[in-house]
């Protein structure tokens, strides 16, 4: 797997954190106040609490259990129970390459020299869960499981498929500038309906 779309920026505005699962790997994806996105293993190194339950302040994410605060690199910079202590650099969350581009949040589970894919000038539309593996959805839309599969049509639709599990994936849709949101939504939902009917 290279770059995977983990969500749309509009769904993770500055100051928020959400859980994202990519191919069975649980992540906490958060956006700082200045709009910088990060993707970390969803586990605080202190007591294993999910960081996606935490809270964003400024350019930091804190764990909800004991308030341990992490900077964008994933290093713990403040432990409220010990305000005088400078936490050792060894305390850090596991972070993955993450970048926002053209309104989508791109994540790679391995180090990557390449840039996240372009959306060809398309705008992000919405994300839809599909009850089937990413491979099956890719076969259904007759696309490779590349970062972006072009479906075409009136709105020049393209989708990025995010593997979640053997029985679930997320489809992130992009459409040409000035698309009609309603007709794109109808197109996507009828596509999902056909897929799930076929799979059933």
């Amino acid at each position: 797997m290279g770059w995977i779309a983990g969500g749309l920026c509009a769904d993770v505005p500055p100051g928020t954190v959400i859980p994202v699962c990519i191919g069975g790997v649980d992540l906490a994806v958060w956006c700082s106040q200045t709009g910088v996105y990060s993707a970390w293993a969803d586990r605080c190194p202190h007591r294993g609490m999910r960081l996606s339950h935490g809270f964003v302040r400024g350019e930091t994410l804190s764990c909800i259990y004991h308030g341990w605060q992490y900077d964008q690199s994933g290093s713990c910079i403040y432990i409220p129970a010990h305000p005088q202590l400078t936490p050792p650099r060894t305390i850090c969350a596991t972070s993955y390459p993450c970048a926002s581009r053209d309104g989508a949040i791109w994540i790679s589970l391995a180090a990557s020299d390449e840039s996240p894919p372009e959306t060809g000038g398309r705008e992000p539309v919405r994300s839809l869960p599909f009850a089937g593996s990413a491979e099956r959805v890719a076969r259904f839309v007759d696309a490779d499981l590349d970062a972006l599969a072009v479906l075409g049509g009136e709105a020049d639709l393209a989708v990025a498929i995010q593997p979640v599990s053997d029985t679930a994936c997320m489809v992130h849709a992009f459409a040409a500038n000035g698309y009609d949101p309603k007709s794109v939504s109808v197109q996507l939902e009828s596509m999902r309906g056909e897929f799930e009917e076929l799979a059933a």
């Binding site: 190194p45 202190h46 609490m49 339950h53 909800i64 004991h66 129970a81 010990h82 305390i91």
Partner: protein
Amino acid sequence: MSGSPENHWYCVAMLSGLAEARKTLLLGKEITVGSGADGAWAKSADGSLMPVIERFGHLWACPGEPKKDLFSIPEADGEGRRLVDVGSVRVRCSPLRAVENFLDVAHFPFVHTDILGTESNAEVDRYKVEVREETDEVWATKVKFHQPQAAMSATGGIITEYMYRVPEPTCAVLYKTCPPRPGEWDVITLFVQPLTEEWCEVWPWMALYDDDSTLSEMVSFQQLIFMQDRSILENQIPKKLPLDPGLEVPTQADLTSVAYRRWLKKTGYSYGAQLVAA
């Protein structure tokens, strides 16, 4: 103490809740609890009676052979205390994670915000932790923490002093400054019934000096606190409590947790524990 989980005592019911026999789980196996003319009883799936004790308002059962008597809490016998059966909360977590969370004060400002702690007073001073050899119990003493509303009977913020005691791997007793009676300790316990290694039923029980609050107010207060804890306990990874160092990073505020984990490991009690770092 024996490491075999079958030979320990476990809380399995409130005595006041045994009018009708019911099935439950203990260490992953079905048991039935009920009461008759001779008192409360617990039966394993094959119908055989298990050793039981009625104490602290609850029924205790041992699926194997008990190696010692169930612990006592002499402080709870004081005259004028109100004994409060809180009920139970089922939590999808390791029974040991539930006990460890109960031993922790550093989470108060973030999980029980503006009730048991505030973010502006989150510091945890050094306290004392020991394993008392004569009773084989973990004790933490001189634990002091600033609390905005330590109990139903508290009016305004106070420095609360705590003592924690772990007399059984799945039980913890908290002794805490008693707002209306300085010099006495309120007693709040956590009896954890291991349904499975990753699912437990938590039976809190209290022996308090509080003449003003209604029973329903006191129960609601504890239920609120445990609901807040549940949102944490069901979201820790891994679900089992890691006993080997390396997977999780403790600090000085976690000395009770460190002692508890070491004690479990030394004892060989591993039901609900993860022994090899994942």
